[in-house]
């Protein structure tokens, strides 16, 4: 009897209307949820906790559950807000400089370097990133300081009579550090963005008699705008967030949001540090939202599609 039952059920399984997908196929469907889980675990949850902790009450060494806006009050009604706005201003200057120097490199790579060599050339921009960020930034000191490489060279060439002291321990020093640290990001983003500009566009522009300026402003820039915007946001956010830069290259008054948060932690004011982080994230999200509304940032990934 048992043999009959097995045979019968085996026969039912084999019918076309009762198809069960293979295990790998069933698991495959869930793979698409991994990015969602990742975003929830490593972005949404930490961000939610950051906001929650920013509302806690500060204690002597830590904090305790409460709903208070003291940390935000501490941020918005002190020199910290001014510092934050200043760091946004100086970071914007760094973004502009990075764009002026970096984007033409990306255009040149796409336009003039043979396709087979393009990725090898772009690799050259990745190599400096194999060195720790703190070492790269710290290494700028002997270059920029009073008796550093730049000043020594300028003095020996007779270009200046006195060392230029504005190169380090000033806002200028921080901007130099930001440009040298983050320039590759605009090159990468620009390189990716230029995928959206077919090579024949250059020829068409030439045929129609459009000069380099018109070609750049009227054709290349609008097409590559989403990628450029993404690169600029990346540099901007790093500029206001990386505490190392003002800490190592900045002088008195050179304070960015990252350094404000670090200083809050040093003062054991954890709710304030959380509030600064939350404000930074809100700034980033707002920028991305505005950028998406204007440029449709999904186009950044269009070349991959």
């Amino acid at each position: 009897m048992s043999v009959d039952v097995t045979t019968e059920s085996a026969g039912r399984d084999s019918t076309a209307g009762d198809y069960r997908p293979a295990l790998s196929e069933r698991l495959g469907r869930w793979v698409f949820y991994i990015p969602v889980v990742f975003m929830l675990l490593f972005f949404a949850l930490p961000m939610a906790l950051t906001v929650v902790f920013s509302l806690f009450e500060r204690t002597m060494f830590w904090m305790e559950p409460a709903i208070t806006f003291k940390a935000y009050e501490n941020f918005f009604f002190s020199a910290r807000l001014e510092n934050f706005l200043d760091s946004m201003y100086y970071s914007s200057i760094a973004v502009l400089i990075c764009f002026v120097f970096g984007f033409p490199i990306a255009v040149f790579l796409r336009k003039s370097v043979p396709k087979v060599a393009q990725h090898r050339v772009i690799l050259l921009f990745i190599l400096p990133f194999m060195v720790s960020e703190i070492i790269r930034i710290f290494a700028l000191r002997p270059v920029l300081q009073r008796n550093g490489l730049v000043n020594t060279t300028l003095l020996e060439l007779g270009v200046v009579d006195e060392p230029i002291t504005a190169l380090i321990y000033t806002h200028t020093g921080v901007i130099i550090g930001e440009v040298l640290s983050f320039l590759p990001f605009i090159v990468f983003a620009g390189f990716l963005a230029m995928e959206a500009v077919p090579k024949y566009i250059f020829e068409v522009c030439d045929d129609l008699g459009a000069g380099p300026v018109n070609r750049f402003i009227d054709v290349i820039l609008p097409l590559a705008a989403p990628g450029i915007f993404a690169g600029c946001v990346f540099i901007f956010v790093n500029g206001i967030g990386v505490a190392l830069l003002p800490n190592i290259l900045g002088g008195p008054g050179a304070v960015n949001a990252g350094l404000i948060a670090t200083q809050a932690i040093t003062a054991l004011d954890f709710p304030l540090a959380m509030a600064v982080s939350a404000i930074m994230m809100a700034t980033l999200m707002s920028l991305l939202y505005i950028g998406h509304r204007i440029f449709d940032l999904t186009k950044v990934l269009a070349p991959i599609n």
Partner: protein, 388 residues
């Protein structure tokens, strides 16, 4: 409520990561018999890999680098899982031992297990001037291993004078060539000593200022900062050395080893003065963590503590980095150790000790206070100085 209770119960439970963060390193370390020692490089003499210290103490040491920031100790030992990570640690005396002991992060010491305790400076004995810096509720919680009175380092080659007042740090002739330490403890205390002794501000106790006094000191610094007096606020040993050695700054309030290394590195005549207004005095202490005791690391700890109170260590830390030894008999010891200390080094040791004695004798000196009564005011106003 102890801060640790909240931390464990709510934060770690919420994050669900207590097992990962505390368990993994704890398990890895548990298999080692080495004393897990959280200490800065200045806590060792001899070879840079701690081998000389291990040989002298007769124990294995797994050293973990530590900064001089007080908040780091609190974050690790009170908020974080420092007791799972470290058997012993160092920090500033005169406040940190109280904070850590009040949170059960460190344990009481049995000084009878440290033979060289008999040799410790008298000021650390009960009733002595520095007795409180190693005690909590009358119990010995730490042993001292170095101390000093912080002063002004200056580039004698350029200045051509021997300043004896903090005035030079705030003098317009050094505008943009002066630096202060990026730490509210020494910077506010030394500035308060200067303002008090010169009659510029009415300050009762520079070590433990009222909120109004802190505000006054910080506003003075903010005014100076806005005028462009300070080139930067140095952070960390190497930064301090670089600033002096590269002549970015000509005068800086700093640790004595910074002046010594900057002078050696640059070959310039960088000196350390004695300020007539006074200095912030401080010490560094070694503590046994609760976790260290629970893991049975007491024997190793006491052997290391014995080395720290030996003239062997005291003479070497003085000769190498210029820190004040915490035990008696260092001069006599170096006189007998002529092979280890040549005539020049012996003379240098005597000279340094004499200058230290001179600095320590200045009436306006104030002891470092890691956790002053109005610490919130200190922190908040210091943040404004930084942000100004």
């Amino acid at each position: 409520m102890k801060q640790m209770e909240f931390n464990r119960r709510q934060l770690m439970a919420l994050m669900g990561s207590a097992a990962v963060t505390a368990g993994l390193p704890g398990t890895a370390f548990a298999q080692s018999k080495a004393l897990k020692f959280w200490a800065p490089g200045i806590a060792r003499v001899g070879e840079k890999d701690w081998s000389t210290m291990m040989q002298q103490a007769g124990i294995e040491i797994a050293a973990i680098a530590k900064s001089a920031r007080a908040d780091e100790s609190i974050q690790k030992m009170v908020v974080g899982d420092g007791n799972a990570l470290y058997d012993a640690m160092t920090d500033n005396g005169g406040g940190m031992e109280d904070a850590l002991a009040s949170q059960d992060a460190i344990v009481e010491l049995d000084v009878s297990r440290i033979p060289n305790w008999a040799n410790v400076e008298d000021r650390y004995l009960e009733g002595g001037a520095a007795a409180d810096t190693i005690r909590y509720d009358g119990k010995v919680m730490a042993i001292p291993y170095i101390s000093n009175a912080d002063s002004l380092a200056f580039n004698h080659d350029v200045i051509g004078a021997e300043p004896d007042t903090w005035d030079v740090l705030f003098d317009e002739q050094f505008k943009g060539r002066a630096a202060l330490q990026n730490d509210f403890g020494p910077t506010l205390t030394n500035t308060a000593i200067y303002l008090k002794q010169t009659g510029k501000q009415d300050i009762e106790n520079p070590s433990d200022m009222s909120e109004a006094e802190v505000k006054g000191v910080c506003q003075f610094l903010i005014d100076m900062k806005k005028k462009g007096q300070f080139r930067t606020f140095w952070d960390g040993f190497q930064n301090g050395v670089d600033l002096l050695a590269s002549e970015e700054v000509l005068v800086a309030s700093c640790w004595e080893p910074i002046q010594i290394v900057a002078g050696r590195k640059s070959g310039k005549d960088i000196r350390y003065g004695t300020m007539k207004e006074g200095h912030q005095s401080w010490n560094n202490i070694v503590m046994l963590t609760r976790g260290g005791k629970e893991r049975g690391m007491e024997d190793s700890f006491y052997k290391l503590a014995d080395v720290y109170l030996s003239t062997w260590f005291g003479a070497r830390t003085l000769a190498g980095l210029g820190f004040t030894p915490q035990m008696k008999g260092v001069v006599e010891y170096v006189e007998t150790e002529t092979e280890a200390f040549d005539a020049d080094t012996r003379a240098q040791i005597k000279d340094r000790l004499a200058r230290k004695k001179e600095r320590l004798a200045v009436p306006g000196n104030a002891w470092q206070n890691v956790f002053p009564t109005q610490i919130r005011a200190y922190q908040d106003w210091w943040a404004r100085v930084q942000a100004a």
